[in-house]
Amino acid sequence: MTAPFLHINGIRKTYGDVVATDHVELTIAEGEFMTFLGPSGSGKSTTLYILAGFQDPTAGDIRLRGRSILQTPSHKRNIGMVFQRYTLFPHLSVGENVAFPLRVRRMGQAEVTEKVKRALKLVRLDGFEDRMPARMSGGQQQRVALARALVYDPPVLLMDEPLSALDKKLREEIQHEIRRIHQETGVTILYVTHDQEEALRLSDRIAIFNRGKIEQVGTGPELYAGPATHFVADFIGDSAFLAGELDGIAGDQAGLRFADGTRVAGIPLHGAGRQGQAAELMLRPERVELTLEPGPQGRSLPVVVEDMTFLGNNTTVSARTGWGAALTVRLNFGHPLSAGLTRGDRLHIRWSPEAAHAFVKG
């Protein structure tokens, strides 16, 4: 077996007693777009900084094409990076900013001019060579930063929340540009964000970070359909969680009992659980259906309708379970139930077998 293109091998970083990352293990294929997704302080940026060489890991190794890069100082790693803050050199024009990596490599002027031109064209800023960074918008500055990071053809491009300072519309526009640039250049990208939508939109695969560890790695659909942990289920998609306790475990499926004695059954169980242990039922809202009759094999719950909001293409129904937990269900426009629904109606929610997951608490 050949060595993986990029191998983050058991990286651990501690500051005194604080563990920033703990045994982060990941392999990345050449040309892949890998996103580190997680809340702030989850270790995703620390991992990126270790890749950049700004920090040394306490333990572990990083190998690029089979060779460790940890002994190589930042300026010799030949890695590109776009930062969260604007880091263009304010005293240099756009052209000179992009030329900077080539100038420090003592490249000839003709080649510099040619490469700068090509890099600016790639980010659709051709003709901006003489503009000063201070006279450009935030979005333009980050595009110049992208050109500067790509102009020396680095094997790996690191991006540390590069769009977090921009407004939503601009962010989507540049996300689109980043996707296009990834496809055009084939560069391997490691992208850090806390925005799940951004991660889903851009990435080939996503690594979910939590408390210094990777909880799960997979494509967007994989993570959405098969979350390995409660954290992943909560972080990707907006799901409903109902707290109860395990009641009747059969193989990898479990039943749950709730506060008022209501039972559900046949739920895929994540993690080892004991009878009576606290657990949560997770339901993906778009796979939950409002019906007049209970579903088969315990895959349903009785609810009382509390409120309805018409939102054009759907009606959002707020409902409450028998023990008082709140749930929302969407009825598509034209759904037979949406017309006659009133507050206080007693109905059932039911779900297809793959839409529910049970997570052991603790």
Binding site: H75, I79, F83, F89, P90, F100, A145, R148
Partner: protein, 279 residues
């Protein structure tokens, strides 16, 4: 209406500045004007004071000494102050405060006391000579006082805070991420210093250098105590002319030339840096 309120606002601002303006007028502008007048009228009307000053080799040497020492002091001060300011900017807060206090304390200590201290350290049997001889680096004590070497050492020490403070101001404003970006772009530490850090710190270097150079041009205490009579500088010449020789014409002419040079340098700095910063 904005057209009428704006001038009134400007007028009230002028009111606040009035005491300072009156003070400057009474104790600076008028005396300078008197000095200029006396330099052009004593002992008799004409430019003879200026012609003597700019024409004779004795005075030329004094001018050379003054500008040479001021230039060397400025250059050495920049070279020492830059790493100090950088250290202050990147040290953890507590340590930076300690280092900063040391710098300020030395600045607040009496100037004469500090200069006499240097005389003690630099003299033939002083600590520095004895240490160098003890280490076997020299056989004979070095002549470190009563010459321009002593003046330069003493002035560099006194001028350092005036260079460190403006440098610290600009360096603290530089985002460390910009230097990280330079490193990932492939710049060595030296290249990052030359191509990024120094250009970004240039306004601070310029204003610190101007301050140190101008202060050095007119410095009196240190050159007279450490320089000896053979190595006179401009301020000593002015003092000598006015105090010993009661030659207000010559003293005034020298003082006025110094003022013109200072204003000229200030104009150059304004032209190249202040406007660039605003734009």
């Amino acid at each position: 209406m904005p057209a009428t309120t704006a001038p009134r606002l400007r007028g009230s601002g002028f009111g606040f500045a009035l005491p300072a303006i009156l003070l400057l007028l009474a104790f600076f502008v008028i005396p300078v004007a008197m000095l200029l007048t006396r330099s052009l009228t004593e002992p008799e009307p004409g430019l003879q004071n200026y012609i003597t000053l700019l024409g004779s080799t004795t005075y030329a040497k004094i001018f050379f000494n003054t500008f040479f020492v001021a230039g060397v002091v400025t250059a050495i001060t920049v070279l020492i102050a830059f790493p100090v300011a950088w250290t202050l900017a990147i040290l953890p807060k507590g340590w930076a405060a300690v280092l900063f206090a040391v710098i300020l304390l030395s600045m607040w200590t009496n100037l004469l006391a500090r200069t006499y201290a240097w005389m003690v350290l630099l003299q033939q049997t002083g600590l520095i000579n004895r240490m160098l001889m003890g280490l076997g680096l020299i056989d004979q004590p070095l002549q470190l006082t009563n010459n321009l070497v002593g003046v330069t050492i003493g002035m560099v020490y006194i001028m350092l805070p005036f260079m460190i403070l403006p440098l610290l101001g600009v360096i603290q404003k530089i985002d460390p991420a910009i230097l990280q970006a330079a490193a990932l772009c492939g710049a060595t530490k030296g290249q990052a210093l030359r191509r990024v850090l120094v250009p970004l710190a240039a306004p601070g270097i310029a204003s610190g250098a101007l301050m140190v150079f101008v202060m050095s041009l007119g410095y009196y205490v240190t050159p007279s105590l450490l320089g000896g009579t053979a190595n006179m500088m401009l301020a000593e010449l002015i003092a000598q002319q006015v105090q010993s020789l009661v030659n207000w014409g010559m003293g005034g002419a020298a003082a006025f030339l110094l003022l013109v040079v200072t204003l000229g340098l200030y104009a150059v700095q304004l032209r190249f840096f202040e406007r660039g910063e605003a734009g």
